[in-house]
Symmetry: C2
Subunit: 135 residues, 2 copies
């Protein structure tokens, strides 16, 4: 597998407009898209630094992973996403290394990328998403 | 101020060798340097994806910010670092915006960069480092 870079940092927030003020208006990071990723129970606002994105995440449902995170830890960094060249090869390789993946196969995440998450118990406490960009 | 990109993600760990196994050996992210940043009470191992770095941080002292973080939350993402074009301009601008900076002026961080931290209470729960690279 080949890591191509940090694709984004996912930040769980309670209010998109309020959080947008800091990342977009104060820091001046360009807003690029809003995406509704129903499979993960989130709506995300995406801001692009030009070298890595900031994704603000709000929960769509009271039992979504983001809702549970916000309830237990409050707003803050939820996950980091690394871009890979080929998600299927990454899944095969990581499974062979006994890395604990969440789910058995890639799903479609924000921006239509093919994604899978690595469980924090395999990474030292960090929820790591791997993403292959759409062709 | 101008954000140039995600410079790195700082991850607090208890054991550099053990954590290095995942980021370097399994994910294959290239190790580039070890840096002793005594002012922040940390030793950091730096891994470069080519588009954003992973910095693993261990505490040098029992009362350092990283030691306190590990004691209260365990290993995991400690901060994110955004590269800026000019740290002095960023400090002046953010102060005018009533953003809560930690300290009044930039200090020298890992890799000799000029850095300052933004308090999580101004960012929605995220410890944000700003860094200007050495010329």
């Amino acid at each position: 597998m080949k890591i191509l870079g940090i694709e984004h940092i996912g930040i769980a927030v309670k209010n998109l407009e309020e959080s947008s003020r800091f990342w977009n208006e104060i820091l001046g990071i360009e807003f690029t898209a809003t995406d509704d990723v129903d499979g993960q129970g989130v709506i995300t606002n995406i801001y692009d630094t030009g070298a890595g994105k900031i994704e603000l995440l709000i929960s769509k449902y009271p039992d979504s992973p983001i809702a549970k995170f916000l309830n237990s830890r409050g707003s803050g960094i939820h996950h980091i996403c690394l871009q890979v060249d080929n998600i299927e090869r990454a899944i095969k390789y990581l499974s062979e290394q006994d890395v604990n993946l969440i789910g058995n196969s890639a799903v479609i995440g924000a921006e239509g990328y093919k994604v899978i998450f690595i469980h924090p118990n395999s990474t030292g406490g960090v929820l790591v998403e791997l993403a292959e960009k759409k062709n």
